[in-house]
């Protein structure tokens, strides 16, 4: 049973710099991450770079924890991209817009590896 958090996603500057370079290591190391408050990291018992599993009703994904001041307690931020989208909601509530922010999630430390983008996409083809 993981810790309950509120998941949001969004842009970062390095994510933007690699918009046309998504198969790169730089994109991977920036976007396959989960920013959170240091207090939340302590509660989870993880440090920066540790793998964490984020689970929602829509899927689960492994990303690397990253301490980020300014992120409120109880909120996690995954940069927009394939890792965040593995766990966001496709339900548009009749408005056309999926829900990319404000998703109930659970987070827990894991020994599992973070999947590279090509391996992540393969999951959809199984």
């Amino acid at each position: 049973m993981g810790t309950k958090v509120n998941l949001i996603s969004g842009r970062t500057i390095v994510q933007g710099q690699n918009l046309d370079n998504k198969l790169s290591e730089e994109y991977f190391s920036e976007v396959a991450t989960c920013e959170m408050n240091k207090a939340d990291m302590e509660k989870l018992g993880v440090t920066g770079g540790d793998s964490v599993k984020v689970k929602t009703s829509y899927g689960e994904v492994v990303v690397r924890a990253k301490g980020k001041e300014g992120t409120p307690e109880g909120v996690i931020f995954i940069p927009m991209g394939p890792w965040a989208n593995a766990v966001v909601s496709g339900d548009t509530h009749g408005a056309g817009m999926p829900q990319y922010k404000g998703i109930d999630a659970e987070i827990e430390p894991t020994e599992e590896e973070v999947l590279h983008v090509k391996d992540l996409m393969k999951r959809y083809m199984e």
Binding site: G10, N85, K101
Partner: protein
């Protein structure tokens, strides 16, 4: 080496048009000034899709442009419920051919506004948009509010060129005589620059807009001590600053469009702007993401009457976002073919949508390999608009600007690829009709 001035950036909705680059041996070798780090990264270039390709037995096999275009046309001509999606990172001339192609095959045509400012479009259709140009903001605005937007990460030149940091005709002192308010869930890099930062609880934007509206209309007494995590004291200070401004502007981003209330948030944001009109001049503008997402909304509206999520299967345009928007079509597993141009649903659509895309024929037109390439069945590489191809685009304030061509290329431009696909589709249909 040739120096090219007044280069126009084809990255974000800022469409900066004062960039200087150096070109040597038909490559951009240096960005001398004007571009932010994100725009610079685009101008300096990344690895490309090297050849057109068609998927055979699970792997992409290189082929000629002719073969890839023919294959794409065959797939589209045989489709029963095709989706044509993307269009915001290419030029209006290509978008126009895209709408024609959609009409020819009775497709649903949708664009990236669908997962970006689609809710803003719905809200604007509902209650209008008291807005202005970025030039007016530069020359007049003395109060800038970023709400659910982090330009320091997403529109890195926005403050420098158009809003808080720039100097204009009536704002010659620059930020010395301006105020910046930031409303966000996280204390972002933009928030750190603000005179007032309202750190709201995630998803509570609607409540905070409502509180500000009430206060702007003089009903402070109905506002509780804390709204959405923001104290009444901070809300009163925000209202005071709004009332005292000579020219205020709210720039809003995905923080308000991506959350639960969606378009209702934006309706409330626009109504808050109207409430401010009882005291002073106030404006509101969506922080459009891609450099021509405003342009595809324009083109789609000229051509079909509607800006996004348009179903042309009936032989006339039918508009019902939530029914024919890309995500809804995919989640319902309704479309049987998808063409993606100048966008990357593999990276930016919810996983549930991608699960369906992995099962149907997908055509990709793009300069760069990306997650969509991983499941695309026909891949057609394109010239990069704004570097290798020219054309018109619309900045986030709906000002048209012409992208320049900086270098020559062997890659085909989006417009030509689409025209050729359209020609092939028409030839197939003519043959079928014989």
């Amino acid at each position: 080496m040739v120096e090219i001035t007044d280069v126009v950036c084809s990255l974000c909705g800022c469409v900066c048009d004062d960039i200087v680059v150096e070109v040597e041996d038909n490559n951009v070798t240096k960005v001398k000034k004007g571009a932010c780090s994100v725009g610079k990264s685009k101008l300096m270039g990344h690895g490309r899709i090297e050849s057109p390709a068609i998927r055979e037995n699970g792997s992409l096999k290189d082929c000629s442009y002719d073969d890839a275009i023919k294959k794409a046309a065959e797939i589209l001509a045989a489709a029963r419920r095709p989706l044509l999606y993307g269009w915001s990172s290419t030029v209006c001339e290509a978008d126009k051919v895209g709408v024609e192609l959609a009409e020819e095959i009775g497709a649903v045509i949708d664009n990236t506004a669908s997962v970006c400012h689609g809710p803003s479009v719905l809200a604007i259709q509902d209650v209008g948009l008291p807005s202005c140009t970025l030039g007016e903001v530069k020359n007049r605005a003395d109060l800038i509010i970023y709400w659910g937007a982090n330009p320091a990460a997403a529109h890195a030149n926005h403050m420098k060129r158009y809003s808080y940091i720039t100097k204009g005709y009536w704002t010659a002192e620059g930020k010395k005589n301006k105020k910046l308010i930031v409303v966000d869930v996280r204390r972002t890099a933009t928030a750190k620059m603000a005179d007032v930062f309202l750190q709201i609880e995630q998803g509570k934007d609607y409540l905070v807009f409502s509180a500000l509206r009430a206060m702007l209309y003089g009903y402070e007494d109905v506002v509780p001590e804390v709204v959405g995590g923001v104290s009444k004291k901070d809300l009163l200070e925000t209202v005071r600053m709004m009332k005292e401004a000579k020219f205020g502007i709210i720039f809003f981003g995905m923080g308000v469009t991506h959350t639960g209330a969606r378009h209702n948030n934006i309706v409330n944001a626009i109504q808050t702007t109207r409430a401010a009109h009882t005291h002073t001049k106030f404006n509101i503008m969506p922080m459009r993401g891609h450099y021509n997402v405003a342009g595809i909304n324009q083109v789609c509206t000229w051509e079909t009457g509607y800006p996004f999520a348009v179903d042309l299967s009936r032989g006339y345009a039918w508009y019902n976002p939530g029914e024919h928007s890309a995500t809804d079509l995919l989640i319902r597993r309704e479309c049987d073919v998808a063409l993606f141009i100048a966008s990357d649903p593999g990276a930016h659509f919810p996983g549930e949508s991608i699960r369906h895309l992995a099962k149907i024929p997908v055509i990709q037109i793009d300069p760069f390999p990306n997650p969509t390439t991983e499941f695309a069945d026909v891949v057609i590489p394109a010239a990069i608009s704004g570097i290798e191809a020219e054309g018109n685009v619309y900045r986030m304030d709906n000002i048209p600007i012409r992208l320049r061509k900086l270098v020559d290329t062997e890659y085909m431009a989006d417009e030509e690829i689409l025209e050729r696909i359209l020609g092939e589709v028409r030839a197939i249909k003519e043959k079928e009709g014989e």
